[in-house]
Assembly symmetry: C2
Homo-oligomer: 291 residues x 2
């Protein structure tokens, strides 16, 4: 059909890397196990030290192994994934309606729940800024209109590594009725953003999450303490009120090796008569479909 998979000859780095990758996938190299040293690799494949280096470098950028000086590289142990479910949107809304004592007891909602609150240094920065092109388009307001910008950040006090990061934008016109909402020292606010919006009469009715992923830059990688080859998941959340008007957007990043985003979509029940009709004719109708 096509020219063979090896037009001339696969680079040695790729051949080495693929061989190791297959050993990992077959389980010959268990998570945590040590790889051959560079010297051993360059001997076994009779190539230069730097070519063996290139092979393990490739595996590193793919997140399959970890490497460090003075120690043979080892197969990566996949960390636990923290689950962030869209069901929390409804939970948060329910919580926003409860009395304050109850809200405070459950903690505030923007916080990363992966570790105890005492173990992270939480910070929030509020400011009123002019809406840029991007934010304006998402919120459906004029470019340059004033927006409340809230930046939430949690870092591990021991390592200074980022644990969570998000930026939220709300049209200032919506929230200036309650001056308390402009004061960052009121964070963490029991009940979260949805309760804050309720204090100015805004009820969130729909939340849209837009998810993509990309590789971190070098500085992002070290701020998050990301191993090589771990993407950042980017999630933009837009909240709409009962008039389908966007009232808040929130941009958040999550390290892909520790995060799973879960979205729950309830479907409307179908008309029982229509279901019955399909069950009756389904068999024949389906077969007729074949061309």
């Amino acid at each position: 059909m096509h020219p063979e998979r090896t037009p001339v000859e696969a680079p040695i780095q790729l051949k080495i890397a693929d061989a190791i990758r297959m050993q990992i996938e077959r389980g010959d190299l268990a998570p945590g196990a040590s790889l051959p040293t560079l010297n051993e690799l360059s001997d076994q494949w009779s190539c230069s030290l730097n070519s063996a280096r290139g092979a393990v470098a490739l595996l590193r950028t793919q997140g399959l192994i970890t490497a460090g000086r003075g120690k043979a590289p080892s197969v990566r142990i996949p960390p636990r994934r923290a689950v962030r479910s869209s069901e929390r949107h409804q939970v948060e809304k329910d919580l926003a309606l409860r009395p304050e004592a109850e809200r405070a007891a459950l903690g505030e909602a923007e916080t990363n729940h992966a570790m105890s609150i005492a173990e992270q240094r939480f910070s929030s920065r509020y400011s009123v800024v002019a809406s840029d092109q991007d934010v304006s388009a998402a919120l459906g307001i004029a470019v340059g209109a004033p927006v409340l910008r809230r930046q939430f950040e949690a870092v591990d006090p021991r390592t200074d590594h980022q644990l969570s990061y998000s930026v939220s934008h709300i049209p200032l016109a919506l929230v200036e009725a309650n001056p308390a909402l402009l004061d960052e020292t009121n964070e963490p606010w029991p009940g979260g953003t949805q309760h804050q919006l309720l204090t100015v009469g805004v009820e969130v009715m729909t939340i849209v999450d837009e998810v993509t992923a990309r590789m971190p830059t070098t500085v992002e990688a070290q701020r998050w303490d990301l191993p090589d080859g771990v993407p950042l998941i980017f999630c933009r959340r837009v909240s709409f009120d009962d008039a389908a008007r966007p009232v808040e957007i929130s941009d958040a990043y999550y390290p892909a090796d520790r995060t799973e985003l879960r979205f729950v979509t309830p479907l409307r029940p179908a008309d029982p008569d229509a279901i019955a009709a399909i069950a009756r004719e389904g068999h024949t109708s389906a077969v007729v479909t074949t061309r």
Copy 2:
């Protein structure tokens, strides 16, 4: 506060890469613009050719630039993202209830809509396999129980590059009542999976999407024609019937540079009395919160 950002001295590769990255972020290097050649870089930074190489290699693995032989590297032009919205879950369900003529006209649902159907080679492979550990856990059935495995794939006929890929598992006990469902030649099935399930009396009521991302392996990268530094988004979709029983799981991969996953979460309306109460007391209550 902390030791200065440069404990000893940053590697030259990083310094070069960071300088170029900043030029890109500031806009000095527009998307599509050419970078300095390796010779120019090694001259400007008075380092070896290979060090300059290392710098652009880093930028490549971060997806910021594209490189190829014989041509200076250039700033990556971000491709258009195809949006896959969870709203299609409801659309698909509505469609499943329509007459066949209508269903056929709208095309089938598993197909990638980013390009015309005529321009892709679609293939599906059906088989009955024993459920493995992973699938069993997700479907809540015994390990080894028979499941219908459906693999959907679309490739670009010109380049042999993958356009979409997904694997679906359904407990065989659910679908064997309709033999037509076991025949892959019935694909594409008008109305999609939800209509197929309706023919055996199963109505999907909830869909849960679990999203993560990871870097592709070398073979995945070339199958999808992924530029360096582009993660794969992995989405596991689990469909539940009215008894909250999982009836189908589907694992799909999407190239992160061309895909945006959108999830719409409708929230239940709150009790008007509760809202009014918060609006009344909100201002004072919020201020009291300050510690």
